[in-house]
Subunit: 509 residues, 2 copies
């Protein structure tokens, strides 16, 4: 944590000011679906067996200051990132080398690759892929340089189930609303102004991505009506985040969608003789739909695969003619090993996918140095850095797999590695810590107010639709998310229970 | 309850159909603010001390069939009702005779009248009044006539705090949504069609009424910025109903409003030397607003007046230059005695306010016969009808005061009157029971599903802005509400915990 580049923030509130802000926040969020289902620790299943209760989503009371040029760069570079990851997903040869390195230590990656091979053997029947991506950044101020200008450094690139696009639009609306009713005290309003608060367009823009895929699929081959399928986890507390995309997909694009829990895929869908994916909703006997697009909001974590049946379900979906959001190869392109390979100092890989030098240079500037923990030259250097308490303090150790919650930070790295069998070290990558400027905010979770130091993570959504042959049909930046967490937790997932949805208050820093 | 004029309805649902409908209803309602704060019996204050939890508002699963010509007549006649009640509110002499009859038995009415007299002594400084009215009807099929055509009969006319305008727009949106995703089974869709489901415009239309009043007030006389004041009850479970009006008032009309609990009026507002009402929000030290319009969502029931302080607060507000929604006289015009006097068979009163014979005749058709329980000729007739078990079975006994919960029905009337001192009889009116056709629906409350016979009550909103001199500046019909309750309870208030918000499915009956 470096010194703050931000003005004194947020302002202190009198009891009356806090009360007014909180009351308006609580009512606005429920009135506009900025909500989640309560955690079982808050409301037990026996109290609310049918699940009708909801609570305000965890949000920040104030929009967090964010350097304007960093925000603008994040949005501006998204189309290049979309192209980069679609290029990676099309490069099976290259992905194979990455996957093979991981296969020994990451069973999940190995199984995903097996599915790809199995479908490939049979032959893919869909050459379109949809990506609803999210590139996550932190603001970094180089502690080694005096007067260093803040810049964005990528934390990770999500190629599957990028969440919070539904709630992000709402929270930026809410902060704008709170400003418009003068709920922020006068000493804050030189900083919080309407034109400092960019409205995230993530809801309509991600929904438009699904609609573009739906249209690109073409007409029905099975004579059934067409639909989009949201493949979801069973009980989903973050359901409204997904619902807002569904509602926008229907209201603004006229596209029908259904939600199917991952464990119901095999019972509720089948492939016809042409491998069209046919969905038969259990509630509508005799009525079936042909699926144009499978939108995975499940299946991204090993936890979703309890046994062989789930793997069979994934294979079943991948074999189908439906456009996958994302395809298996795109899913694999999002594994941290790929990010690491691209960001390994002096790596030749970025140039392979981004021939334009200026673009490649611009992308490279957003990478924090990442090292493998293998026995390559960079890997050996990383092992030295990670096992020494002094140097380890500038690094974070991350598992290659998706899904937060298991990062090892700074001084904890050497003892962690000491306990870990060395053969498992390559399952992790070592990343230089991004050093965000000191910042404070107030997080509201279930009515509890937590004030203190926070870290914000800017997520920029991207929509990309491409053919395996290389043609890119659609490519756009699709709004943003700011997730903010207490700076003690050093974890980033709001869903995981540590953070809050936020919006950017742009400042010139 | 007469025989049904409706088709077989609602359709039976398979478990899967019910599940699909319920899941979509539960998610849509929270995602769109069709919500209430949970009752203390569902979520205790100790579990959720800051009040962040919300639950879906009680709604019907299906839109209830409603005769199209009845719906159309209710909407068409609203402007005439607005004129009628604004004329009554302007006729102090006439109101005085009504109030004087009640004063002995209804302390609340007497106190309201005292306030009027006190302000009158000093002189009113505002000649504009705003009414946000709601005229409530039931469908009546005369049991004495074969092949009787259904018609609407007025249950009551609300001149203050007409509620559910905020949620009504949402529930008609929701039923349309459920239809659009084919959540209603095929056997229902000959009845439930998009063009059978009129969208209630109550949110934007009522908000536009407040905005019209705000503009008509003119410019600030105190040099403070202008605002609308929602005077509310302390803890308000139905807060989102009110919030949707506030949000529409701001977003669509650019008008600021504040919520002030009734018990905070004296501490947070003052009158300046010209009796401008100045509101100083506790959260904004040094910032004050001049109130253009007082919108009462409290103060309509004796329960809101714990002691003299509340009466002082009401007087304080009435003395101000702010436009009242409604004024004291308009509030008094809504007492049931007025409805009774108008609806007493062969009454001369309607013609006094509605000189146009055709309009008067049309209004009269919506009245159910209502009798006083005094010693007039009609009153003596009523006493005979009410004390005889045979004839009492076609009647309901209602207190003159506002607020549901105390009606006495049919066979219960004679024993009730027997126990009541005869001097208190004039506090009640006797009304011929409206006989609604048999109808079924499913009510969802806190996830509990109650299926069975129901009674629907159509509420038609009206906006009217007038000068005490007689000029009507604005007059429009402002959308509708359908409230549906189990036909056992014979009570109508959703807030009181017995009913649900519904929408009309128009049928030709």
């Amino acid at each position: 944590m470096t010194k703050s580049i931000y003005p004194a923030y947020p302002p202190d509130l009198s009891d009356e000011q806090a009360q007014f802000l909180l009351t308006n926040l609580k009512d606005w969020s429920i009135a506009h679906g900025l909500a989640v289902r309560p955690a079982p620790s808050f409301v037990s299943q026996s109290q609310d067996p049918t699940g009708v209760l909801a609570t305000s989503a965890p949000v920040t009371l104030f929009p967090s200051p964010f350097p304007r040029h960093c925000y603008e760069e994040g949005l501006a570079i998204q189309k290049a990132y979309n192209e980069l990851y679609s290029a990676i997903a099309r490069d099976e040869e290259w992905l194979k080398t990455v996957v093979e390195e991981l296969a020994g230590v990451d069973d999940f990656v190995a199984k995903l690759w097996q599915i790809h091979l199995e479908v490939k053997r049979e032959g893919y029947v869909q050459d379109l892929t949809l990506g609803l991506f999210r590139s996550d950044y932190m603001v970094h101020v180089d502690p080694k340089e005096a007067d260093a200008k803040p810049e964005i450094k990528q934390v990770e690139f999500n190629t599957i189930a990028s969440s919070f696009g539904g709630l992000s639009s709402k929270v930026s609306e809410m902060h704008k609303y709170l400003l418009s009713i003068d709920a922020y005290p006068p000493q804050a309003t030189p900083i919080i102004k309407q034109d400092s608060l960019p409205q995230s367009k993530s809801v309509p823009s991600l929904a438009a991505g699904l609609a573009a895929s739906h249209r690109a699929y073409g007409s029905s081959r099975s004579s059934h009506p067409l639909c989009v399928l949201f493949v979801v986890q069973g009980p989903e507390r973050n359901v409204f985040d997904q619902r807002h995309l569904e509602y926008s997909l229907l209201a603004e694009n006229g596209v029908r969608s259904f939600r199917v829990p991952f464990h119901k895929i095999l019972s509720d869908t089948k492939l016809d003789s042409e491998r069209n994916l046919i969905y038969s909703p259990p509630h509508a006997v005799g009525q079936s739909y042909e699926v144009t697009t499978i939108y995975y909001r499940a299946g991204y974590t090993p936890d979703d695969y309890a046994g062989e049946e789930e793997w069979t379900a994934r294979l079943h979906l991948e074999r189908s003619r439906a456009i996958k959001c994302p395809s298996i190869l795109t899913h694999l392109a999002g594994c941290k090993k790929v990010q690491q390979v691209l960001a390994t100092p002096h790596s030749p890989h970025l140039a392979r996918f981004v021939p334009d030098e200026a673009t490649a240079k611009r992308l490279l500037k957003t990478f924090a140095p990442i090292y493998p923990l293998d026995k390559s030259e960079a890997g050996l250097e990383a092992r030295r850095l990670a096992t020494d308490v002094g140097s380890a303090s500038r690094y974070v150790l991350k598992p290659q797999r998706e899904g937060g919650g298991n990062n090892i930070y700074r001084a904890s790295i050497p003892p962690f590695l000491e306990k870990l069998a060395e053969t498992n070290w390559p399952a992790y990558i070592l990343m230089e810590m991004i050093e965000p400027p000191a910042l404070n905010n107030v997080i509201i979770r279930n009515g509890e107010v937590q004030k203190g130091g926070v870290i914000g993570e800017l997520g920029v959504y991207g929509v990309c639709l491409w053919r395996s042959g290389g043609q890119i049909l659609e490519n756009w930046e699709a709004g943003y998310l700011l997730r903010t967490k207490g700076d003690q937790s050093e974890e980033g997932g709001v869903a995981a229970g540590f953070g809050a949805v936020d919006s950017c208050c742009l400042i010139d820093a």
